[in-house]
Amino acid sequence: MTEEVVATAGEGAMEVKPLSPWADTWRRLKKNKLALIGLVIIVIFLLVGGAQEIANLLGPHNASESDTAAQRPWWQRGYLAPYDPNGGDFHAGPAGPINPPSMKHLLGTDYLGRDVLSRALVATRISLLVGIIAVGIALAIGLSLGPISGYYGGAVDSVVMRMADIFFAFPYILFVLLIMTVLGPGFRNVFIAIGILSWAGYARLNRGSVLSVKQVEYIEAARAQGASDLRIIFRHVLPNTMAPIYVAIAMGIGGAILTESALSYLGIGMRPPDASWGSMITDYQTYFFAGQWWMLTFPSIALVVTVFGFISFGNGLRDATDPKLKE
């Protein structure tokens, strides 16, 4: 879609300057309150989950960080966490390790006296990393195979699409389970497994758009100028087929976070004692049924709110980029 088309279709008589596709999308997105709430949730999620990296970018390490935290791998430190997320304390409160929310521990402590808030914060960065890296892997595969498949057609297309069929038909959670059983539990394996299994959706989505875009005149013009196939695909075709992909990315990050939590719930996601929202939920469910509600409730809320943010923003973005819904 060229800028001109967007401008003539979306603009009233008052404004003269044609809007760029981004500005037009934003103008339409702004009207959707739910999408904006989703966007705010996503920004908060990025800030909380990325606090460590942001702090590292802003300056050297804070000296107040304990040594034990510094010894842990980088994804487990959790800059905002007030306590060591994996460090137990059997005298966390008057009642022993398990304490309901208080001023000292805002979200209470768990059965090992670990601070639930700290664990939930560290889990936030896990979810963020899983979401971004898994979708990144899927995108890298999908957006290489999809455009090539759609552009060349023929045998290449058949092979890629039959592969996509197989990945689509394979029951997803079962596939992830199998891959995780091979790779073993752990942080890196989770996003590898989710990433290599989700490419088919992006590939298929993008192939469709490429098929419709490749017949357009400016592609013809680029070819006439002697541009190579790869240049045409990645410089001219791909950028014009991205709108549905952005929607799929938003939904995909939400989906990857859900899948990670499901894997951790089944006990083959994160390796204990590392926290993720899913592993906290499975870890604390017996305490939940025993009336110690705070351990399980807070990670559940964090998970649901975050996924809501991505779904809500993704849906809003879909509506804002859908040419059929233009007024």
Binding site: L34, L174, L177, T181, V182, L258, A262, I281, V307, F308
Partner: protein, 318 residues
């Protein structure tokens, strides 16, 4: 039409082959030796070797795969390493539990259709925004979180419904006793509620699109009542795309709901496969994967065919 069906069935065969090959390769890569696991606590090397040759595990992977395909072509899924029972018998035992759950959940999710239509007809009202917000929140609730809160509320606090297991033995796609019906309610709600939210959101979007189309404007212009416009003209076109979602859901759920079955400790195809992965029980895993893939692909095919049958504008060429 016939060539279309034949081509799709041919694709199904390709997919089943691909899926089984992937399953075989993955099961081979999983660390651990099934023969050693079966041999017991302190096995002699001879015993392990015996089990290995009995199961054909001493042969290379392609020979094992060839034997598997050969057996499959004769309708034989093989024998479970773990239980030493025919896999087909295990499948037959577990399918009713899964089928009951899938059917109940899909019936429940159809509630989303009237909810979505109602919401669309009242766009920009308080009800619409409140409902859409709720739907989006519920859509993102993981099924295990939903399950845990249902168990806590209806099992622990209200003590109304059983929270684990499946009650009596299941035989068909319908619960055969009051007890098994009660056991079905919470798992079905756990899956169904999330899907109700999703379906109603989709239904709302589909209805909004249809209600803005030209033929609806024509219908209104010629003075039809709003009731007639909605139910005679808009309803059919808005409902068809959403029904396809429900159909595909049914196919996906028939293949086993691993997480829901885990939360509610409910037997079923998902549980059967999940426990067999841990035990490296290749024949059961492979059969389960084939079954799940098969029902899913067939459900998709049926949905596509009925879509074309209901909506003649759709041509089944590509």
């Amino acid at each position: 039409m016939l060539t279309y069906i034949v081509r799709r069935l041919f694709q199904l065969i390709v997919v089943i082959f691909g899926v089984t090959i992937i399953t075989f390769v993955i099961m081979f890569l999983i660390p651990g030796d099934p023969a050693q696991m079966l041999a017991g606590k302190s096995p002699t090397p001879g015993k392990i070797a015996l089990i290995r040759s009995e199961l054909g595990l001493d042969k290379p992977i392609y020979v094992q795969y060839g034997r598997f395909v050969n057996r499959l072509a004769h309708g034989d899924f093989g024998t479970s390493y773990q239980t030493d029972r025919p896999v087909s018998a295990m499948l037959k035992e577990n399918i009713p539990y899964t089928a009951q759950l899938a059917l109940a959940a899909v019936l429940l999710e159809l509630i989303g259709i009237p909810l979505g239509i109602y919401s669309a007809l009242r766009q920009y009202t308080f009800w619409d925004s409140a409902y859409t917000t709720t739907a989006l929140i519920v859509w993102g609730i993981p099924v295990f979180v939903m399950g845990l809160f249902l168990q806590w509320t209806f099992g622990l606090k209200l003590n109304l419904l059983p929270v684990t297991g499946a009650g009596d033995l299941a035989f068909g796609i319908f619960p055969n006793s009051w007890n098994s019906f009660l056991h079905l309610i919470l798992p079905a709600i756990a899956i169904g509620l999330v899907e109700v939210a999703y379906i109603s959101y989709m239904q709302r979007a589909a209805m909004l699109e249809v209600i803005r189309s030209d033929y609806i404007r024509t219908a209104r212009a010629k003075g039809l009542s709003e009731r007639q416009v909605v139910f005679k003209h808009a309803f059919k076109n808005a409902v068809i795309p959403v029904m396809t979602i429900a159909g595909i859901d049914l196919g996906a759920l028939m293949g086993g709901a691993i997480i829901t079955e885990a939360v509610f400790s409910r037997p079923g195809v998902g549980q059967m496969i999940y426990s067999s992965i841990g035990a490296r029980d290749l024949p059961v895993v492979a059969a389960g994967v084939i079954f799940s893939t098969f029902v899913y692909v067939i459900a998709n095919l049926i949905v596509d065919l009925s879509y074309a049958w209901v909506d003649p504008r759709i041509r089944l060429e590509e």
